[in-house]
Each structure stands twice: as C-alpha cells, then as structure tokens.
C-alpha cells in the first residue's frame, strides 16, 4: 500500500482524527489517554458497521486484529489494502515471523505498544501519543488526535569542544563522515544495536554527535533519549538515511526526485520496501548506476561524494548540527 490516509472515527461523545503514512505506526504514551478505546470502537464498528452508532471515514478499510494469537498469520492473510490496528496484548508483534510477514504486506499497521520492537524498522517520526482537546467533561464531546512523541530536539552541546561523531552505519555513511572529520573523531556503531554499548564504552569525557537513520531507529530512540538525559553531552541527528541526505542535497538529478522527497509515501509501496531508508538506497543506486563517476554503492563512497559535493550533503543538516562538524 502507498499514500497518506486520513482516518476519522467518531461517536456522539468521542472523535479520533489522524493520518497514517507508513507501513508501521506505533501508538504509546500514558495510561488512560484512549488507546484501547480507539481499538474497541473500531472493533465494534467492524462487527456492526454503520448501524452501530460509530462513523468511520477513511479511503482504505480499517481492520482490528482481535483473533487468535496462534493463528495470526492465517487471520492477517485475509486482510488486504487497509490499516490494521493491533492492541498491546498480542506478543506476536515482537517475533521474527511477524517482521518477515510485514516486509511483504500491502497493509499499514498501527501497533499499540510501549515495548521497543527491535525486529521492526519503524521510524522515529511515526511514534505517537494521543492527546485530547475539548472540555473533557461528560457529556461534552472529546476530541483525540495523535502527536509525535519524538520531535526535532537535537540536544544542546557546545560547539567549542572537540566532538566525536558516532555513526550508526558501518559502510557508505560512516565512510563519508570519517572522510569529513578524520579517523580519530569518527566511530561506527556497526548498526542500531551497537549504539548503546558504544556510548557506554566512550565514557563521559567526550561530547558525542550521534547520526542514525531515523527511518528505522524507532525501537532505539527512547533508549538514546534517556541516555542523553542521564549522561548529557549527546547531540542527535536522525535524517531518514544517509542516501536521503545525498538525494536532498541536489547533487544527483533525476525525474520526480523533489516530489519523492516531499511526499515519499506517495511513491513507496509497503509491499516492496519495509522502511523508507531502503527505498532511498535503491533510488540512489538506480539513479547513478549508469554513471561510473557518480555510481553509488552502499559499501563505500567514491570521490564524487567528497569535496564540494560533500559540503552540499552536509548542507542538508540543520545549522545546529552542521556547526558541530
């Protein structure tokens, strides 16, 4: 499935309104904000339809998974081209099997869970809480909306001190930043799971700028944010991916690139790409494959991505981060 889908769910006393635009949306936050009520209302709607006092407005079907945990794969198989809501009591969403299933699914999923789902590459931008407006006094109508839990808070560190770059990537992205600042100031975490142990290893003496692919960092972001609160001296930058930075910099030309960067959800099919960073990698490889100078490979960068072009790539970063490098 592709696209951004606006969903409105309404009874006479409650209204939920939100957009989903990637294959995985995670819903979490405090107790008593209305997460389970949202699922319950949708489940009721799926049983009774329009006659049940619930109005659902969406351009794609909304399903609630409330079947048998042992037969989830079989039951999900009957749902296609829609948004599937799964409440927190289903443990299968943590399994490898679910991750493999989701990689080729043409549904979007809204998962209610506080647990980090390390098997799933979900975006830091698609983790939401629910907030409420209205008088909050029965029988006045209560309005619920989703709000992103992790915004653009880069952290507050001084640019006067020498900073260590910790790069989640171990290949082209790491190569690029190592080139910019030199070996001694750049370290690869060799994947998302390596970030926490690397920061502990580094100790508290260094200021750290962590750069990771925001498109797939959702399960790790809470740990990093907590670590930043505890330790201090950590700035974070989560672009969609390094390849997204290259495309955004304008050094590679191609048809529709600007539109793809503006509204990736209109181009990225969930059945083909489990997360957006995989799409941007495939796109960059495709756009440069016939040009021996620009040819991009995940395994390392060529001279084309150095010098002036490197400055353009860095120019994609917000100024607060750019000045630290």
């Amino acid at each position: 499935m592709k696209g951004k889908h606006h969903i409105l769910i309404e009874t006479e006393s409650l209204r939920y309104e939100f957009d989903v635009r990637r294959n995985i949306t995670v819903l979490q936050g405090e107790s008593a904000t209305g997460k389970t009520t949202l699922i319950d209302i949708l489940a009721e709607y799926s049983k009774k339809g329009r006659g049940g006092g619930i109005r659902v407005q969406s351009d794609v079907p909304c399903f609630v998974f409330n079947g048998s945990a042992d037969r989830w794969m079989y039951e999900l198989g009957g749902m296609s081209g829609g948004v599937i809501f799964i409440d927190e009591d289903y443990r299968f969403i943590q399994s490898n099997e679910f991750a493999e299933y989701l990689a080729h699914s043409d549904n979007y999923y809204v998962l209610v869970t506080r647990k980090p789902l390390y098997n799933l590459p979900y975006s830091i931008n698609e983790i939401y809480g629910i907030r409420t407006s209205g008088k909050y006094h029965f029988p006045e109508k209560i309005y619920h909306e989703f709000y992103p839990i992790y915004g653009d808070n880069y952290g507050n560190i001084s640019d006067e001190k020498r900073i260590l770059l910790l790069i989640e990537d171990k290949e082209a992205g790491y190569d690029f930043f190592k080139d910019m600042v030199g070996d001694g100031r750049c370290m690869s975490a060799e994947g998302n799971a390596g970030i926490y142990p690397r920061i502990i290893e580094i100790g508290s003496s260094e200021d750290i700028l962590l750069i990771a692919d925001g498109a797939a960092f959702g399960s790790y972001v809470d740990k990093v944010v907590h670590l930043r609160q505890l330790r201090g001296h950590i700035a974070i930058y989560f672009p969609e991916s390094f390849e997204w930075m290259v495309l955004k910099s304008g050094i590679i030309k191609g048809r529709d690139i600007l539109n793809m960067l503006e509204s990736p959800e209109e181009y990225i099919d969930s059945k083909e790409y489990m997360s957006w960073e995989r799409f941007f990698t495939a796109l960059l490889i495709e756009l440069t494959k016939d040009d021996p100078i620009k040819r991009y490979s995940k395994s390392g960068i060529t001279d084309f991505y150095r010098g002036q072009n490197a400055e353009k790539i860095l120019g994609v970063m917000p100024e607060e981060i750019r000045r630290l490098i």
């Binding site: 008593a32 506080r114 909050y136 029965f138 740990k223 907590h226």
Partner: protein
Amino acid sequence: MLTVHFGELDEMQYGPSWFKYNYKPEWLKDPFVQEMIKGVDNSEYVDGLVINSPVFGPIPPERLSGGLKTLIMIYKRTDLIFDATSCGQNCAVWLKEIGRRVDVKVCLEYLMDFAEPLEIMIDNENRIVRSEKDFMYTAMKYI
C-alpha cells in the same frame, strides 16, 4: 517492596485481562484503589460498581484504563507477577506507592522513569537501587 524484573517471565500475567474477568467488587471500596482511580483515570468511584468518568460518564470497572486495571491487580494479587508494561509513565508514582505498602514483583519491558526517593529491588541483579540514575542505567542493560 517493589521488585522489578526487566524483560518477560514465563509466569508473567496480563493485568487488563485478569482484572476484566476476576476483579472483586469490594476492591473498589478500598480508599487506596479509589485514589488510583482518581490519579490515573481522573475518575471518581461512586458506589457499587459505578465509576464516574469525565470522558464516558458513569462506567463499570471493566472500562477503566488498562494501566489502572494492571495497578489494581498488582496491588490486590501480590501472589502473581504482572506485566507492568501495560502501565504508562503516569502509573510510576502509583507503582512506587504500592511497593511502599506491600511486597510485589512485576515485569517491565520499557524504560519507565521513577522519581527519587525510590527503593526498588532489581530482580535480574538481586540488588536494591535507590537512585533514578542507577535504576535507568540498569534498565537499559536489559531492555
């Protein structure tokens, strides 16, 4: 004392489901349960099986939030180990208070913040932590 196990245990129970099918009406008469109903769900216990919710109006106990149902189960069934992951951050203060009143053990699978003063036994390491920092660094090793 509150004992926390980071991660799952085989005997771990799911609070909302336990509450729905096993709660005892007299639990709602307990002043501490009524405090938690007010503190987490911003609702008032009325009488019998009636709770007044600012969102839904009069509701039965089955419609309390999942986090509150889990807190009540943790407090009332200390012989069982519940998954406190069903409890949001706004339940942390109540979990601590339950631990001050009774000995309970819970599982936790996300990074819940506990403000000081605190005294929590970490089941995975068999030691007591007394600072937010110690609790969080320990949690991050397992979650």
